[in-house]
């Protein structure tokens, strides 16, 4: 079984199941957890994190919906066998959602398409020099 790192924060405004889900997802997308790696059982993880079984179960169910993990009844959960392209696709999808959010916000601020592109270019260059 792989060690997974999860740190729950009481100060976070995110519900606990979202925190668990985000951190497991992050471990998978970053390659820390690889396809086929087994995850701790829901009840073991609930004990380790001192949270409820249902909270943990919900985090796993959401990750299953995203096809990042698979659960076999009686055997537990493991990182989905989907290939790197799939994970990249998922990351791209999340990036696109964030971009859409930026576009919507920009429209609210009456920014033109060119304004947004210019702004993004500027930030992109700044980020590269640092």
């Amino acid at each position: 079984m792989e060690n997974i790192k999860i740190i729950l924060s009481n100060a976070s405004s995110d519900p606990i199941y979202i925190q668990i889900m985000n951190q497991i997802r992050q471990s998978i997308l970053s390659g820390e957890l690889r396809a086929g790696d087994t995850l701790p059982s829901i009840r073991q993880l609930a004990k380790d994190l001192q949270v409820s079984v249902i909270t943990t179960k919900r985090a796993f169910e959401e990750l299953e919906k995203e096809q990042l993990i698979d659960t076999v009844v009686g055997k537990g959960s493991y990182v989905s066998g989907a290939n790197k392209n799939f994970i990249r696709e998922q990351r791209m999808k999340r990036l696109e959602e964030k971009m859409l959010e930026i576009i919507r916000e920009s429209k609210e601020l009456n920014m033109s398409r060119q304004d947004v592109i210019d702004h993004l270019t500027l930030l992109y260059e700044e980020e590269q020099t640092t």
Binding site: P15, Y17, Q44, K47, Q50, V51, S52, V53, I54, T55
Partner: protein, 288 residues
């Protein structure tokens, strides 16, 4: 499957009534029974244990009828309470000798292990134990006969925070077996709520809700804002509201509607169980 099924339980006392309560406690999960003092939590638990006879209604524990199959039920459940069920003049070891033969699945090895872990001396008299030590003893007994269901009445009263945290681990250990179930009652919301799957809220002898903790926190919202936002229609949206010279703070049980109603004009937060308990019990308006 339900570990406990209460159907239309009614019990009247001169000053107080448990009023037609039905409640399912799910097998495989931890349920917290919360509510202020004197609203019926203990009465409900005593009816589950056959210590109080309901005026009407039925109790099923682990699929068995209480009180008809009380002996079988008692084999399979553990009771944790600070009320002493044992003889005060006996030592812990004498008490063990008396009760152990009753349980088919009793383990001396487990019991001695828990006594050591909980720092309880076997030679100590039951009558000399503090409230917290009695809870620990009851827990040791419950965990030593492979109870499938723990029924705990105010288990955190009298326990220091250090042991409360240790107890979370012990309970989570028990819950590794998905056939096991736990119900506990409490009037103070503590770290125990952290591991509760379901919350049953009882108030004035009635169940206000019994649902997953996640569901509760998604449904309720604490709204904070300026007094100018309030008029009589808006006030009616609240379960309870506290108004002061600097603003208001109120509880709603339909977060989505409140989001639409207040938009960005008020702050919406996820309430604690204590907030829910406070505003529901006080109800109406509090002017502070």
């Amino acid at each position: 499957m339900n570990a406990i099924e209460l159907r239309n339980l009614t019990k009247s006392y001169p000053l107080f009534t448990v009023d037609n309560v039905s409640l399912n406690v799910k097998q495989g999960y931890i349920t917290g029974l919360i509510g202020p003092n004197g609203v019926g939590k203990s009465t409900l638990i005593r009816m589950m244990l056959g210590m109080v006879r309901p005026d009407s209604g039925s109790v099923k524990i682990l699929g068995c009828d209480m009180p008809k199959q009380e002996v079988e039920i008692k084999q399979r459940i553990g009771i944790v309470s600070d009320e002493c069920f044992y003889y005060e003049h006996l030592t812990i070891i004498d008490m063990k000798k008396m009760i152990a033969p009753f349980y088919k699945k009793w383990s001396d090895r487990k019991f001695n292990g828990y006594l050591e872990q909980f720092e309880l001396s076997p030679k100590k008299k039951i009558g000399d134990l503090s409230k917290g030590m009695k809870i620990k003893l009851a827990l040791a007994v419950a965990l030593s006969h492979e109870a499938e269901l723990l029924i705990m009445d105010e288990p955190t009263s009298g326990l220091d925070p250090v042991f409360r945290r240790e107890m979370l681990d012990l309970l989570a250990d028990m819950m590794q077996n998905e056939r096991n179930s736990i119900i506990f009652s409490t009037h103070i919301t503590t770290d125990l709520d952290r591991i509760a799957d379901y919350i049953a809220f009882i108030h004035r002898g009635k169940i206000v809700f019994n649902e997953t903790k996640e569901g509760v926190f998604e449904r309720y919202a604490l709204v904070k804002g300026d007094l100018e936002l309030l008029d009589s229609d808006i006030r009616n949206e609240f379960i309870g509201i506290r108004e002061t010279s600097v603003g208001f703070e109120g509880l709603v049980d339909h977060r989505h509607k409140a989001e639409q109603l207040f938009g960005d004009h008020a702050v919406l937060e996820t309430p604690s169980l204590e907030d829910i308990m406070y505003f529901t019990s006080r109800g109406g308006y509090v002017h502070a």
